[in-house]
């Protein structure tokens, strides 16, 4: 049995495929954090006073906080003074005017990653706001989107061009006081994406960002803000992959989503940062705060995530269901292998009447991986007829990994219906043998079984992302005909 477990592990144990490093000159601020660094970041970005003050308030608040300890994650202490809080790729002038102005090494990096930056994007229907380290270097299809009144740009640009919108919505879902990592992000965030869909507009293409960590000891502090005004619709894709690095790298992103009346936001993530080596050395520490606010009646927000990378994943994309009849969804596949740790889940906060939420969590643990689902379903006193359905399934490969489920349920309204189902299974030797006895090789068999396990989540991803997700799991997508 032990050898069986080992063999399974070998199959899922492929080296990290995206590990390469691009030599770029970077404009990096000296390590360490104090008020001057915060002011410097703000000044480098030529920010208006309200932004600088907001950052400083966040910084001062951060000083009063301690790292959270309630998760199941274990890591050596992070030295926040050893991190450089600003790094931007150098380009010829002040900033790239077009793709031709972008460092060719950077473009090659994207090419290797398969990020579509050229014409073919248009055919694929994807607009890419590529983030390299801390500054956006390319934004495409802006003109096309602008015709519809859609704003899709880097966060820095939004601060310059649309300060009123930024001021109105920034921190309105995740306040700067929210939690240790979100507060840190609020003080030092470098860049990210901003998106506004005007009333009644359906965004005609999937919007997408690609993140990449590349500079040594540079924390990544992305900030994303997406607003769907009344009756608007947008589907947003976030993909991440990083080059092989030895140092642990901190990533503390914040994503805020706001859906007004009748609006819908779909947010999908495929995360493949460097997970560390087989012994657990290196790898990204990923502490993310993602939250959506169904602010208007009949609004809808869905999170879909495929988490395969990072040494540590600490992430709970949540939905606040304020508007009556609003709907929140969370679907997640989280895979941990070797010494990876994931503590991830969601919070569904039911405030409005007739609000509905669905949670589907698929955790896969292999090697010494540790996988925890942590979810809160909260129904407030006035949230009549709230409904939640939660399903948490764990799949274990081998016998040295672990999966845990921590469901928290707080119901203050007697009309609420909250259902929870959970299961844990092991990739069975019998399943594997059954496939093999049909002529299917063990690698393909494992892929098939894992894909089957994740099916309910994968089917929610846009096609191109689903393809990426299955690649990340080292599998071939099920069901061109299935």
């Amino acid at each position: 049995m032990a050898s069986e477990a080992l063999r399974l592990e070998e199959l899922i144990d492929r080296g990290y495929q995206q590990g390469f490093y691009t030599a770029l000159e970077t404009d990096t601020v000296a390590r360490g954090l104090d008020e001057d660094v915060v002011r410097l970041i703000s000044a480098k970005k030529n920010e208006p006073e309200f932004m600088r003050e907001w950052r400083l308030k966040a910084y001062r608040h951060w000083l009063t906080l301690a790292e959270p300890r309630w998760s199941s994650i274990v890591h050596p202490p992070i030295d926040y003074q050893a991190i450089s809080y600003y790094s931007a790729p150098k380009s010829r002038k002040d900033g790239p005017q077009s793709l031709a102005d972008v460092d060719p090494a950077l473009l090659r990096t994207y090419e290797k990653l398969g990020v579509p930056l050229a014409e073919r994007e248009l055919l694929a229907g994807v607009a890419v706001d590529a983030v390299f380290d801390s500054v956006s270097v390319a934004t495409t299809f802006k003109d096309k989107l602008a015709e519809l009144g859609i704003i899709f740009c880097s966060f820095s640009e939004a601060v310059q061009e649309h300060p009123a919108l930024v001021r109105q919505y920034l921190g309105s879902v995740v306040p700067y006081t929210d939690n240790y990592f979100a507060t840190l992000n609020s003080a030092v965030f470098s860049d990210g994406s901003f998106c506004y869909i005007p009333p009644g507009v359906r965004c005609p293409m999937e919007l997408s960002t690609y993140f990449r960590i590349n500079a040594i000891n540079t924390g990544q502090f992305e900030r994303t803000l997406i607003i769907a005004d009344k009756g608007a619709y947008v589907s947003y894709l976030e993909g991440c992959t990083a080059p092989m690095r030895d140092e642990n790298q901190l990533h503390a992103a914040v994503v805020e989503l706001i859906a007004l009346e009748d609006a819908q936001i779909k947010y999908a993530t495929v995360q493949n940062w460097y997970p560390g080596d087989k012994e657990g050395r290196g790898g990204i520490y990923n502490f993310v705060t993602k939250r959506g606010d169904c602010r208007g009646a009949n609004s809808r927000i869905s999170w879909t995530q495929v988490e395969t990378g990072s040494a540590i994943t600490w992430k709970y994309p949540s939905v606040i269901l304020q508007g009556d009849n609003s709907v929140g969804e969370f679907r997640s596949v989280a895979l941990t292998n070797n010494y990876q740790q994931a503590d991830t889940g969601t919070k569904m906060i039911h405030l409005g009447r007739n609000t509905k939420s669905t949670i589907i969590s698929k955790g896969i643990a292999a090697g010494h991986g540790r996988n925890a689902y942590r979810g809160l379903v909260k129904v407030a006193k006035n949230a009549a007829n709230a409904r939640n359905y939660t399903q948490c399934d764990s799949l274990l490969m081998g016998d040295r990994c672990a999966a845990h489920t921590f469901p928290y349920i707080e119901v203050k309204n007697a009309t609420a219906r909250v259902e929870h189902e959970a299961s844990t299974s092991r990739i069975g030797e019998d399943q594997l043998f059954y496939c093999q006895s049909r002529g299917i090789g063990p690698e393909d068999a494992v892929s098939m079984i894992v894909n089957g396990f994740c099916k309910e989540v994968f089917k929610e991803l846009p096609m191109e992302f689903a393809v990426e997700a299955q690649k990340l799991l080292g599998v071939s997508l099920e069901g061109s005909i299935g």
Binding site: E429, S437, R438, I440, G441, N451, G452, K455, E478, S480
Partner: protein, 256 residues
């Protein structure tokens, strides 16, 4: 086609097969019978390559090759098919997807082009009709929520699609209603051909009424203790296994 010589196999150091000798030629149907726990499924699974069993002695030759050297998937691609006594459920994986992957793995192995979706569907629908199965089963997850009989029929459907050279059916007749038994038996009978060998593991004469075997073997405590023609199965049906076990004990006891 298949030659088993003095095969010993154990699990967790506990011997289960204790010297099996059996030869099966192309075109023949052999029935393997024997009491519960005598090692019939073990034999079937060892032939299919399950690695939780350790072969401790003996040899298996298949079409002139050493079968024990091959991985389970290689054996399958070389034409061995095992219909499981307990077919395995694979949640989330559409039945049709498994079927297509299995067929194409075999075709690839033979250097043939993979079947495209249209050709595959045509083929599968044809076999489905023959098995009297509902098309909806193709799109359900592999064996998940299938009734006992549906699982068994699904195994025979796979066999019909994969057209094995050596088919081993482990109690495919158990748990079938009378009509289903006829369908399964017809499926097996249709597979009978001069180029193909079939091993039927069964407890009941019912199946052998439809598919008359060339040889019948009785397995007891990991050994073949009696072989004969179809009449042996009839005799077992009448007398049970007791008389054979007693005879076996005598014979073994008398051995020097």
């Amino acid at each position: 086609m298949l030659e088993i010589i003095n095969l010993h196999a154990s699990i967790d150091d506990q011997p289960i097969l204790r010297g099996i000798d059996l030869a099966v030629n192309a075109g023949e149907v052999h029935a393997v019978m024997g009491p519960n726990g005598s090692g019939k499924s073990t034999l079937a699974q060892v032939l299919a390559g399950r690695d939780s069993y350790t072969v401790t002695a003996g040899e298996v030759r298949y079409c002139g090759r050493n079968l024990l050297e091959l991985s389970p998937e290689e054996r399958a691609r070389e034409g061995i098919f095992l219909a499981f006594q307990y077919p395995v459920e694979i949640p989330g994986v559409a039945n049709i997807y498994l079927l297509k992957a299995a067929i194409n793995a075999r075709r690839k192995h033979r250097g043939e082009a993979e079947l495209d979706a249209m050709d595959f569907l045509a083929l599968v629908k044809d076999k489905l009709k023959f098995m009297g199965m509902d098309e909806a089963l193709l799109y359900r997850h592999v064996n998940q929520g299938f009734s006992g009989g549906e699982k068994k029929r699904n195994e025979i459907l796979q066999m019909a699609l994969l057209e094995p050279r050596l088919a081993i059916l482990d109690e495919t007749d158990s748990g079938l209603d009378i009509d289903a038994l006829k369908v399964v038996a017809a499926g097996v009978e249709a597979m009978r051909s001069p180029a193909r060998a079939i091993i039927l593991v069964t407890h009941y004469q019912r199946l052998l009424d439809y598919v008359v075997p060339d040889r019948v073997h009785v397995l007891s405590q990991g050994r073949i203790v009696r072989s004969g023609g179809p009449e042996l199965a009839l005799e077992l049906e009448r007398r049970g296994y007791g008389w054979i076990d007693a005879g076996e004990a005598e014979r073994v006891g008398a051995a020097p």
